[in-house]
Symmetry: C2
Subunit: 330 residues, 2 copies
Amino acid sequence: MQLNKEAPYVLGIDLGGTNVRAAVLDKQGNLKGSGRAPSFATEGMAQTAGQIVHAAQTAMQSAGVKPEEVAGVGMGVPGHIDDKNGVVLWAPNFFEQGGPWRNVRLASPIEAMLNLPVFMGNDANVAALGEFRFGAGRGSRTIVMVTLGTGIGGGIILDGKLWTGATGGAGEIGHIIVAAGERGGASAFGSLESMGQIAAICERAARKMCDGRKTILNERVEDWHFLTPKIIADAAAEGDAVAIEVYEEVGTYVGYGIASMINLLNPEMVVIGGGVAQAGELILEPIRRSTRNNGIPTLVKSCKIVPAELGDDAGIYGGASLALDAIETA
Amino acid sequence: MQLNKEAPYVLGIDLGGTNVRAAVLDKQGNLKGSGRAPSFATEGMAQTAGQIVHAAQTAMQSAGVKPEEVAGVGMGVPGHIDDKNGVVLWAPNFFEQGGPWRNVRLASPIEAMLNLPVFMGNDANVAALGEFRFGAGRGSRTIVMVTLGTGIGGGIILDGKLWTGATGGAGEIGHIIVAAGERGGASAFGSLESMGQIAAICERAARKMCDGRKTILNERVEDWHFLTPKIIADAAAEGDAVAIEVYEEVGTYVGYGIASMINLLNPEMVVIGGGVAQAGELILEPIRRSTRNNGIPTLVKSCKIVPAELGDDAGIYGGASLALDAIETA
């Protein structure tokens, strides 16, 4: 599909398991309009593709922009993506005839329906691209983004370009191993994700409650099954030693992973995003301390560790960035 | 200094703590002549630079090549290198007035003496470049090289180019953390280096001897202080269960690090070099198994794990590659 480089707008799309969000941006990153639709993740590719197109059309209508004024579409998809061929190699949260998506050609039907070129990437990689171009990474050349949430993901931008690897699977930051043989989850035992994800935060607090530690968490939840990172962070803000300890411990493990990536890639900046990062300095301070204690001093010194700026919008800004990258390298 | 792109040869230099080696290669990587000199690492930069030039001149003489037939010089230096400016930021094994080299402008005096442009890189990075262009990595675009020895180092080649990071310090593969809080060494506790270096191999065997395990190692050394990786590997080759176990355990930890790098960077190939790799399948088999068990299956499947091919010559071939890269991108 021909890229209309002269057209003034781009479309950014963030496909999630529940909703698909779309936005029209100009080339400076100003948001002109947006749309949203349920993603029908269990209904099969055709229906999901239809919902994506619907969200995109809503965004164009709300922006008062015609398809011929759009240069291209960039889309983040949660899965393993072959970005060169627009194929979803594997997406565990989307289904077709009862099984997860495997080798689904998602870009071409959307191209056909919108009559616009579609560029696709892994959702976490694409969000990193958004923070790089329009968020915390503005002005940098080489950054790593780490997203702390239900899982841990991220993306790597090297010398201005998203690094997707030999087969499109790079940037699986949550799957690096920092504490071999320790807690397991959906990724390997002792992986960054297993040690730092929301479940790990809540488990640590739960264990301290079960150990009989004195903490106001005992008053805040009926029992430890109801713990959330937010409840623990609020307790920490009130000075609860146990809650502070939980974030200290988890931040220490996240710091091991960040130190590893700094030692390996020597980036200028690490951007920390995702729901858990909303705890602010409570989690950032131990992350920075652990990174400093475990990374190579010269490399750590030359690397800022900062919070993300775009929040939930990183995906749509990232989608737009993917399209802008394609325009600039075309 | 002007790069004479048309000249038919390049000079590759490998500066080590004991010796400096130099070689003249043609652009296809055929070795035409070589030279060697003691590196006088404790005598100060001027004497070391003089020795480097001497080795280079010897190599040109042995090849029957004149300086004007050489396009450029590439050199690997063990330390943190600012490759853009030809400065050794820090080299712990080289001394000037009693302290290790810091911010030493090493390239320019050598350029002035040889009247040739000099390109400099970290020695492990440069060796990776040698394996990439002329060794095990021939024909690949994206590889990681891991060197297992006294320490653990390596280099990262992404889409055909050596990745040196924002400030020239990337590729410190030995310093990624795989087993937080475990064995310490010159790098962080639980780092890949601490868990996989020669000292870690010998320690594991020593501990098993001290635990009273039955092993032919008891007959091979007077006491465990005399253990070497070679002695342990030889015992393993004879079927000694304890010796095999040592390599199994160490290979498992090395595999954690390789799985992490595959998950992060999605390379086509990981090349394993250094003295410890001479144990062959004894160490490669557990490395491959652990990588498979801990990496993301699709990414592990698309990545070969192979032994290095150039041995001790990786450095001089890598130096030549650094010069060839400069010619090709000039």
